[in-house]
């Protein structure tokens, strides 16, 4: 079932034309790529523009994929610190960037040297989780949301993974059941 997009960062009415770099930070499944998709489809400063996508390719080839004329570049996975240098090179070439990053927030601070930047840590937002729970018709205490974020981060993939394990109508019971009878191992997709 496709759920309506939740613009929990309220970017719809925010001007992004002068922002050189927007970084969405969070764990896998947090909705970074979905947010970028949403901006590309809906946001007046992002839609209907030439877009170049850089997915999980080697960073050394990034500049080969991007034309010389300034455009909007989407970097789908920023995984290691050394790739921040490639982002800096793209910014220096005059491109605007939307980045989905797994790196901690301070790693992106040097990029401020290249122009206005917005960064959002999207896997630590209780409001996002409350919205997602309300959409799914699931009750929750603030304590359970807090425990969930500490254990998994505020991400939809893990929320669905926990909720689907039982018919519980509240996150507290679902989380307790999950921790008792289920375990998760994260495996990196190569």
């Amino acid at each position: 079932m496709t759920r309506p997009f939740d613009d929990y960062l309220q970017l719809a009415n925010r001007r992004l034309a002068n922002t050189r770099l927007v970084v969405f930070i969070g764990c896998s499944g947090a909705g970074k790529s979905s947010y970028i998709q949403h901006l590309l489809a809906q946001h007046p400063d992002c839609r209907d523009r030439p877009v170049v996508r850089i997915e999980q390719g080697r960073p050394l080839t990034w500049h080969e994929k991007v034309p010389d004329t300034p455009c909007l570049v989407v970097v789908d996975e920023l995984l290691v610190m050394r790739d921040v240098w490639q982002i800096a090179k793209l910014l220096r070439a005059g491109h605007r960037l939307l980045v989905a990053s797994h790196l901690p927030r301070p790693c992106h601070w040097p990029l401020l040297l290249f122009g206005p930047m917005l960064q959002f840590q999207i896997d630590r937002l209780p409001a996002k989780l409350f919205n997602a729970l309300a959409q799914r018709g699931v009750r929750s205490s603030a304590g359970a949301v807090d425990r969930f974020i500490r254990q998994f981060g505020a991400n939809y993939a893990d929320l669905d993974m926990v909720l689907e394990t039982g018919p519980d109508a509240d996150l507290d019971s679902a989380l307790r059941r999950f921790n008792r009878f289920y375990s998760v191992e994260r495996v990196r997709n190569n």
């Binding site: 764990c27 896998s28 499944g29 790529s33 996975e77 995984l79 290691v80 610190m81 050394r82 797994h102 901690p104 301070p106 790693c107 500490r150 993939a157 893990d158 669905d160 993974m161 394990t165 039982g166 307790r176 059941r177 008792r180 009878f181 289920y182 375990s183 998760v184 191992e185 994260r186 495996v187 990196r188 997709n189």
Partner: protein
Amino acid sequence: MNDITIEGDLDALYSGAPTVPFTIAFSNPKHQGLNAKFCLRHLVNVHDSDPVNAAHVAFEHPFVVSDRICTVDVPSSAFPRFAYHGSKVDITCQAEVVVDDAIFFDSKVRQTVPLPRLELSDVGLAANPSEALDPHDTISFFRNFMVISFKQKLAWIATFTTFILGLVGNFFLALYDTFVAANPLVYSSEVDIGLFAAGIGAFVGGTAFSALNKKILRTYKIANLTANPPMIAKGRRYRLSDFLEATSSTNLQDVTLRLVVANQECGQYWRGSGTDRRRVTFSQPSRALVLFEKTTAVVFKRADIETYFNDRFDLDQAFDGMVPHSMISDTHGVKFVAVIQIMVGDLADTTLELPFEMWNRSDFADHRLLGEAK
């Protein structure tokens, strides 16, 4: 039409013969003289859109195709005693013949071996098996802390202090290595930079503290299985004192003892499609029976708790209503679990497991399905 067909004489299995003959017919003359292999597998199929299934090879027999009809005798003990169809997993059995007639794609045929289903009694089944096996434990930290011994109080304080000091120290070390030090002391990796590692450290420390915390809070009572617990068989009656030795260092109120048996369906599946995929391992309770339950208002300190629960009871329902332990790997199959739960008001509860080896295997329902191998 298939070049190879398999037919097993399952009547032999049902009648308790020591071996079950499988007749393999090769209609393609090209197969004559080639190497072939017969294989009997136990399969656990997980009901999910992205499952991780498991197979266990119970019997393997290499042979040379010397005739149009070949026979392989499979020991009865290699077969599962029943087919299981649950809400999350199925356990089935499959026979396979592979003929080595090509470099990459050998000719093969697979056939599911039809096994009887277990007919289990549903009498007395708990409506919520998860809750029966793992009842919610309400703990009043303050009350619990007050009833543990002075030595345990000191242990708790030492653990808590170590955790906090470790957390704060790790955090400042990470900050120093990340932002100040020219030559980082610990957090030198480019990827695992300090704050991230500090977060991981806090999580690991927090988890360890949480586990120790519960362990220390439970020390107000000592509960163990008896040194020589009896074999549990159908038709016999037991007392809790046959299995349990427990004392408390404080007076306890509202003490409930339960003996619960349950089946847990076990398997794995995948979730997520981004950078990280999640392999979810589950052991979901599917059936549970509360075979003994009694509450007593007070248990005095240093008394043997089990003597307050001296009623005799039988455990026959477990044999009629539960699937015996049928795991084909560490993660896949159906688990049989039996636990004694000591639940005390708002103090930490204790659970002791009665291992499956204590239960007389031949009393379970599956032994009535197939004859005993002679």
